[in-house]
Subunit: 111 residues, 2 copies
Protein backbone atom coordinates (compact mmCIF):
# COMPACT_ATOMS: atom_id res chain seq x y z
CA UNK A 1 0.00 0.00 0.00
CA UNK A 2 1.48 3.39 -0.86
CA UNK A 3 1.16 6.67 -2.66
CA UNK A 4 1.82 6.81 -6.35
CA UNK A 5 3.02 9.42 -8.76
CA UNK A 6 1.51 9.70 -12.21
CA UNK A 7 2.78 10.69 -15.62
CA UNK A 8 -0.40 12.57 -16.52
CA UNK A 9 -3.97 13.24 -15.54
CA UNK A 10 -5.40 10.35 -17.52
CA UNK A 11 -3.03 7.93 -15.83
CA UNK A 12 -4.16 9.26 -12.45
CA UNK A 13 -7.85 9.13 -13.33
CA UNK A 14 -7.57 5.54 -14.55
CA UNK A 15 -5.81 4.56 -11.33
CA UNK A 16 -8.72 5.97 -9.32
CA UNK A 17 -11.24 4.15 -11.49
CA UNK A 18 -9.21 0.93 -11.18
CA UNK A 19 -11.00 -1.48 -13.51
CA UNK A 20 -14.57 -1.50 -14.66
CA UNK A 21 -16.48 -1.80 -11.39
CA UNK A 22 -15.88 1.60 -9.88
CA UNK A 23 -17.20 3.39 -12.93
CA UNK A 24 -20.34 1.29 -12.89
CA UNK A 25 -20.83 1.90 -9.16
CA UNK A 26 -20.45 5.67 -9.60
CA UNK A 27 -22.92 5.53 -12.47
CA UNK A 28 -25.43 3.53 -10.40
CA UNK A 29 -25.29 6.13 -7.62
CA UNK A 30 -25.64 9.21 -9.79
CA UNK A 31 -29.37 9.61 -9.16
CA UNK A 32 -29.15 9.24 -5.38
CA UNK A 33 -28.14 7.00 -2.45
CA UNK A 34 -28.64 3.24 -2.62
CA UNK A 35 -28.50 0.41 -0.11
CA UNK A 36 -26.10 -2.49 -0.63
CA UNK A 37 -28.68 -4.81 -2.20
CA UNK A 38 -30.03 -2.09 -4.48
CA UNK A 39 -26.50 -1.24 -5.58
CA UNK A 40 -25.72 -4.87 -6.32
CA UNK A 41 -28.80 -5.23 -8.50
CA UNK A 42 -28.04 -1.93 -10.25
CA UNK A 43 -24.46 -2.93 -11.08
CA UNK A 44 -25.55 -6.31 -12.41
CA UNK A 45 -23.11 -9.19 -12.47
CA UNK A 46 -20.82 -8.15 -9.58
CA UNK A 47 -20.35 -10.66 -6.75
CA UNK A 48 -21.12 -9.66 -3.16
CA UNK A 49 -17.46 -10.08 -2.21
CA UNK A 50 -16.25 -7.89 -5.09
CA UNK A 51 -18.85 -5.20 -4.37
CA UNK A 52 -17.77 -5.03 -0.70
CA UNK A 53 -14.13 -4.67 -1.81
CA UNK A 54 -14.88 -1.98 -4.36
CA UNK A 55 -17.06 0.01 -1.94
CA UNK A 56 -14.31 -0.05 0.68
CA UNK A 57 -11.70 1.15 -1.81
CA UNK A 58 -14.02 3.89 -3.06
CA UNK A 59 -14.64 5.12 0.50
CA UNK A 60 -10.88 5.21 1.10
CA UNK A 61 -10.45 7.19 -2.12
CA UNK A 62 -13.12 9.66 -0.97
CA UNK A 63 -15.49 8.87 -3.84
CA UNK A 64 -18.27 7.46 -1.67
CA UNK A 65 -19.99 8.27 1.58
CA UNK A 66 -21.39 5.46 3.74
CA UNK A 67 -24.24 6.47 6.02
CA UNK A 68 -25.45 4.18 8.79
CA UNK A 69 -28.99 4.86 10.05
CA UNK A 70 -29.45 3.63 13.62
CA UNK A 71 -32.82 1.99 13.29
CA UNK A 72 -34.24 -1.53 13.55
CA UNK A 73 -33.14 -3.17 11.33
CA UNK A 74 -30.12 -0.88 10.75
CA UNK A 75 -29.98 0.72 7.33
CA UNK A 76 -26.81 1.54 5.41
CA UNK A 77 -26.78 3.79 2.37
CA UNK A 78 -24.02 4.66 -0.07
CA UNK A 79 -23.90 7.97 -1.90
CA UNK A 80 -21.50 9.97 -4.06
CA UNK A 81 -19.29 12.58 -2.46
CA UNK A 82 -18.63 15.76 -4.42
CA UNK A 83 -15.33 14.19 -5.52
CA UNK A 84 -17.17 11.05 -6.70
CA UNK A 85 -19.73 13.13 -8.55
CA UNK A 86 -17.00 15.06 -10.35
CA UNK A 87 -15.40 11.79 -11.49
CA UNK A 88 -18.76 10.47 -12.64
CA UNK A 89 -19.31 13.64 -14.69
CA UNK A 90 -15.84 13.32 -16.23
CA UNK A 91 -16.55 9.72 -17.23
CA UNK A 92 -19.88 10.49 -18.89
CA UNK A 93 -18.41 11.22 -22.37
CA UNK A 94 -16.53 7.91 -22.27
CA UNK A 95 -19.75 6.09 -21.40
CA UNK A 96 -21.56 7.84 -24.25
CA UNK A 97 -18.76 6.87 -26.65
CA UNK A 98 -19.17 3.24 -25.58
CA UNK A 99 -22.94 3.45 -26.18
CA UNK A 100 -22.40 4.98 -29.60
CA UNK A 101 -19.96 2.27 -30.70
CA UNK A 102 -21.37 -0.73 -28.84
CA UNK A 103 -21.85 -2.99 -31.85
CA UNK A 104 -18.38 -2.30 -33.16
CA UNK A 105 -16.82 -2.85 -29.72
CA UNK A 106 -18.64 -6.13 -29.19
CA UNK A 107 -17.20 -7.40 -32.49
CA UNK A 108 -13.60 -6.80 -31.37
CA UNK A 109 -11.80 -10.13 -30.76
CA UNK A 110 -10.64 -9.42 -27.19
CA UNK A 111 -7.84 -11.71 -26.02
CA UNK B 1 -10.38 -14.94 -27.47
CA UNK B 2 -14.00 -14.06 -28.16
CA UNK B 3 -16.67 -11.44 -28.48
CA UNK B 4 -18.14 -9.94 -25.36
CA UNK B 5 -21.41 -8.38 -24.43
CA UNK B 6 -21.52 -5.37 -22.14
CA UNK B 7 -23.92 -4.08 -19.56
CA UNK B 8 -23.50 -0.45 -20.63
CA UNK B 9 -21.46 1.93 -22.70
CA UNK B 10 -18.97 2.70 -19.95
CA UNK B 11 -18.30 -1.00 -19.45
CA UNK B 12 -17.66 -1.32 -23.20
CA UNK B 13 -15.44 1.76 -23.36
CA UNK B 14 -13.32 0.56 -20.43
CA UNK B 15 -12.90 -2.84 -22.09
CA UNK B 16 -11.55 -1.13 -25.22
CA UNK B 17 -9.18 1.01 -23.15
CA UNK B 18 -8.06 -2.08 -21.22
CA UNK B 19 -5.78 -0.65 -18.54
CA UNK B 20 -3.79 2.51 -18.50
CA UNK B 21 -1.50 2.05 -21.50
CA UNK B 22 -3.96 2.38 -24.36
CA UNK B 23 -5.21 5.73 -23.14
CA UNK B 24 -1.65 7.04 -22.90
CA UNK B 25 -0.83 5.74 -26.39
CA UNK B 26 -3.92 7.40 -27.88
CA UNK B 27 -2.97 10.61 -26.11
CA UNK B 28 0.60 10.44 -27.43
CA UNK B 29 -0.66 10.07 -31.01
CA UNK B 30 -3.22 12.85 -30.92
CA UNK B 31 -0.97 15.41 -32.62
CA UNK B 32 0.11 13.11 -35.45
CA UNK B 33 1.86 9.84 -36.40
CA UNK B 34 4.86 8.58 -34.45
CA UNK B 35 7.46 5.89 -35.00
CA UNK B 36 7.91 3.12 -32.44
CA UNK B 37 10.84 4.74 -30.63
CA UNK B 38 9.15 8.15 -30.54
CA UNK B 39 6.00 6.55 -29.15
CA UNK B 40 7.92 4.72 -26.47
CA UNK B 41 9.61 7.92 -25.32
CA UNK B 42 6.28 9.78 -25.39
CA UNK B 43 4.50 7.16 -23.25
CA UNK B 44 7.32 7.12 -20.72
CA UNK B 45 7.78 4.08 -18.54
CA UNK B 46 6.34 1.39 -20.83
CA UNK B 47 8.58 -1.56 -21.72
CA UNK B 48 9.28 -2.41 -25.35
CA UNK B 49 7.49 -5.74 -24.98
CA UNK B 50 4.39 -4.14 -23.45
CA UNK B 51 4.28 -1.41 -26.10
CA UNK B 52 4.41 -4.03 -28.89
CA UNK B 53 1.55 -5.93 -27.23
CA UNK B 54 -0.58 -2.82 -26.74
CA UNK B 55 -0.02 -1.62 -30.31
CA UNK B 56 -1.06 -5.00 -31.69
CA UNK B 57 -4.24 -5.04 -29.62
CA UNK B 58 -5.06 -1.49 -30.62
CA UNK B 59 -4.64 -2.32 -34.30
CA UNK B 60 -6.95 -5.31 -33.88
CA UNK B 61 -9.48 -3.04 -32.16
CA UNK B 62 -9.30 -0.61 -35.08
CA UNK B 63 -7.94 2.24 -32.95
CA UNK B 64 -4.57 2.50 -34.71
CA UNK B 65 -3.24 2.41 -38.22
CA UNK B 66 0.24 1.03 -38.89
CA UNK B 67 1.92 2.35 -42.03
CA UNK B 68 5.06 0.75 -43.42
CA UNK B 69 7.15 2.94 -45.72
CA UNK B 70 9.25 0.86 -48.11
CA UNK B 71 12.50 2.72 -47.86
CA UNK B 72 16.01 2.01 -46.63
CA UNK B 73 15.95 1.61 -43.69
CA UNK B 74 12.19 0.80 -43.61
CA UNK B 75 10.11 3.22 -41.62
CA UNK B 76 6.98 2.31 -39.64
CA UNK B 77 4.55 4.89 -38.32
CA UNK B 78 1.55 4.56 -36.05
CA UNK B 79 -1.41 6.92 -36.26
CA UNK B 80 -4.94 7.21 -34.90
CA UNK B 81 -7.86 5.97 -36.98
CA UNK B 82 -11.08 7.95 -36.86
CA UNK B 83 -12.32 5.41 -34.29
CA UNK B 84 -9.18 5.93 -32.19
CA UNK B 85 -9.52 9.69 -32.42
CA UNK B 86 -13.13 9.53 -31.24
CA UNK B 87 -12.06 7.47 -28.20
CA UNK B 88 -9.25 9.92 -27.46
CA UNK B 89 -11.73 12.81 -27.58
CA UNK B 90 -14.12 10.95 -25.26
CA UNK B 91 -11.31 10.37 -22.75
CA UNK B 92 -10.18 13.98 -22.68
CA UNK B 93 -12.54 15.06 -19.84
CA UNK B 94 -11.32 12.16 -17.71
CA UNK B 95 -7.72 13.21 -18.30
CA UNK B 96 -8.58 16.79 -17.37
CA UNK B 97 -10.28 15.56 -14.18
CA UNK B 98 -7.11 13.66 -13.28
CA UNK B 99 -5.01 16.79 -13.86
CA UNK B 100 -7.35 18.87 -11.73
CA UNK B 101 -7.22 16.44 -8.80
CA UNK B 102 -3.68 15.13 -9.13
CA UNK B 103 -2.52 16.01 -5.62
CA UNK B 104 -5.57 14.49 -4.02
CA UNK B 105 -5.28 11.33 -6.13
CA UNK B 106 -1.61 10.89 -5.33
CA UNK B 107 -2.45 10.98 -1.62
CA UNK B 108 -4.90 8.06 -1.89
CA UNK B 109 -3.47 4.93 -0.19
CA UNK B 110 -3.80 2.57 -3.17
CA UNK B 111 -3.59 -1.11 -2.23
Amino acid sequence: MGERTFTCGLDAAIAVMGGKWKGLILFALQDGPLRFGELRRAVGTISERMLILQLREMQTAGLLHREVYQQVPPKVEYSLTEFGRSLNDAMAPLGAWGEDHLERIEAIPFE
